[in-house]
Symmetry: C2
């Protein structure tokens, strides 16, 4: 959304971008049985926000989202999905953006394009936590993972956007088969079940879960896995298309 600007973006016109339109990205990761999302923290303001960006005038909307994702995570080929367009008037509040620009030493005029109303397209993304390398944008001093269960206060309506993304992820989890995008290349059945339990926030029965997953025909069983656990070694699986 109105948060990620490269130095060259703080211009009086913003002519390189589609006016009034932005992208907000809820980037999910999974680590130590916790769902996490990427958040930016803005220099000298204490404001925390979702990664986002604008759409170049010669760029497809979905490509702009992919660009934002890749700029914040270093990854390409990310699982990415539109989930909602946030277009209410009451999300228009120039104060946070003005604070961010002021912290950057820029005092914009009141009609600066970044201070006007924005409609924002919400995307959610699923990434392999172990592969993503969070990269702050030019205005933020950190880009890092935060536990979804314990988020800090977010700027504007970003808390609402996160909730809507999570709702969509929950309903998409079974219909589309997307959970795998949050895991590493190979994983155990227990990993997968823990992921599902965390996303859906409910316990699942081990036996039934395994039966259901295997019946989908999207898992390839690999060799046994003998890590530190003092127990029977589980199989490893890989997702197959």
């Amino acid at each position: 959304m109105r948060d990620q600007l490269h130095p060259e973006e703080i211009e009086p016109d913003g002519d390189d971008f589609l006016p009034g339109l932005a992208i907000d990205a809820v980037i999910f990761g999974f680590h130590q049985n916790q769902l996490k999302i990427l958040l930016l923290e803005y220099r000298n303001t204490g404001l925390m926000a979702l990664p986002g960006g604008f759409i170049l005038t010669n760029e497809n909307l979905n490509d702009a989202a992919r660009r934002v994702l890749s700029e914040r995570t270093g990854l390409s080929d990310i699982y990415l999905e539109q989930f909602y367009v946030f277009g209410d008037l009451n999300r228009f509040d120039p104060a946070p953006m003005r604070a961010i620009m002021a912290a950057k030493g820029f005092m914009p005029p009141n009609n600066h394009w970044l201070l006007r109303r924005f409609v924002s397209v919400g995307y959610y993304a699923l990434v392999d936590f172990t592969k993503a390398v969070p990269i702050p944008d030019s205005l933020s001093d950190s880009c890092a993972w935060y536990d979804l269960a314990n988020l800090p206060l977010l700027m504007q309506d970003h808390q609402f956007i996160v909730q809507k993304a999570l709702d969509t992820l929950r309903t998409d989890l079974d219909r589309k088969l997307i959970g795998f995008n949050l895991l590493a290349e190979t994983f155990t059945m227990a990993d997968l079940q823990s992921l599902y339990e965390t996303i859906l926030d409910q316990k699942l029965h081990r036996s039934g879960f395994q039966r259901k997953m295997l019946s989908l025909g999207i898992l390839e069983r690999l060799d046994k896995h003998y890590s530190g656990g003092a127990h029977k070694a589980p199989f490893l699986y890989r997702f197959i298309k």
Copy 2:
């Protein structure tokens, strides 16, 4: 989308609207066991298009969609849902819009705001066919129902938009309970089953369908219905929230 303009909208600036952003509406109805959608036909051009519109600068996005819906159908309180944002560059083709404006006797300059790139938010709506009164906009000479199974050639990417709306309707049909919005206030179980069969494009088993629908607890059974049919009179049902 870039199709509905009142006379006052054909101005050099379009300052009353958010720039570059539009709404396309796929308005579904159901009549004589056929799914139908509303289409506009533009004067003197033969172009057919989805109803659409723009967002006023002081208007919520969803309210703009409701306004478009009410302007084309005369109905308020319509079931309405966002389903996708169409933001590819290749949907930008000024020719059809120029033809529509020319047919209206207006020769716009090449940089006219209506001839530039638009990102369009797709909404689908479900209305009671018997209550909706299709109303053309100021540039079209007809607004009418067309069989989804037998659509004419549509402008730009509108065929694609319709397909995506239908896909969404199909997956939403069971998750949310929205089919009733396409029926009249009261209906028979056969009506409801026919609706489901038409939307999903597959035969369903009468007994199982009835059992499932009744088990949802969202139907109120009314009196018997004795219409023309030379058969046992079916019950009427009403949808309850």
